[in-house]
Symmetry: C2
Subunit: 117 residues, 2 copies
DNA sequence: ACAGAAGTACGATCGTGGTCAAACTTTGAT
DNA sequence: ATCAAAGTTTGACCACGATCGTACTTCTGT
């Protein structure tokens, strides 16, 4: 059978403007999604995230992240699975995700995540 | 004589939330200011920037950057000088400015600014 | 075949932020 | 003293994005 075409095409992160990436990362709920993907299991269903928004809003956030080249989505049954496109994104925006995640973790824990020269 | 107190206090970048930093960097005009400061002379008057906005809007942008801990401001006559707080900011948000400036330069020139491992 | 689960699509609302013009302040020069 | 330059402040406007509810679609069990 043909691959499930319910999920639109994923752009190459190299083709995504910096502006769009920042707009994706500036929303706290979306940043939380990226953080959860970076520390938890590599594939998480939309419903498996800890988010304080409605389903329709969550759908919106996942789409913004996908179109920014940050996450990969595919269906498993009725569930839509999400994973971080870490390597591809890092090639297009070196250091950006690491810097954001580091700052985020520092803020969350009120401590320095790990020594940085 | 007492130091010119026309310029409000500058926050320590360590005390600025990541959210506020991203909000400062997401606006293209503000990012342009940071870019111009990162490549040009270290101190530039408000009027010395290449910006396509009115003076009052520019004032707004400079304030947002200052309150995000990104720039330092002081008066020289009627001119308000601006400089990038590179070291202090980098300590608080390691790699963030570099990543943003790198991506910005790559986009502007449609080429890779410099090799990155 | 049907019901429920998991998301999506579509409008509508609402807050926030970028923008400008106008009036004001401070400084330096004439 | 006065004037112009350089910013600031204030108030208003406006566009866009986050949010939600409702209706709809697609898949899995039973």
């Amino acid at each position: 059978m043909a691959p499930n075409d319910r999920v639109p095409a994923h752009p190459d992160p190299r083709d995504v403007p910096l502006q769009q990436v920042l707009e994706a990362l500036i929303e706290p709920a979306r940043r939380s999604i990226v953080e959860q993907l970076s520390v938890g299991p590599s594939d998480i269903a939309c419903g498996g995230f800890d988010l304080a928004v409605s389903k329709s809003t969550a759908t919106h956030h996942f789409r913004v992240l996908r179109e920014a080249g940050l996450i990969q989505q595919y269906y498993a049954g009725t569930s839509r699975m999400n994973s971080l496109r870490r390597e591809e994104f890092d090639e297009a925006f070196p250091g950006l995700l690491e810097a954001v995640l580091w700052a985020s973790e520092r803020e969350a824990g009120l401590r320095v995540p790990e020594a940085r020269p």
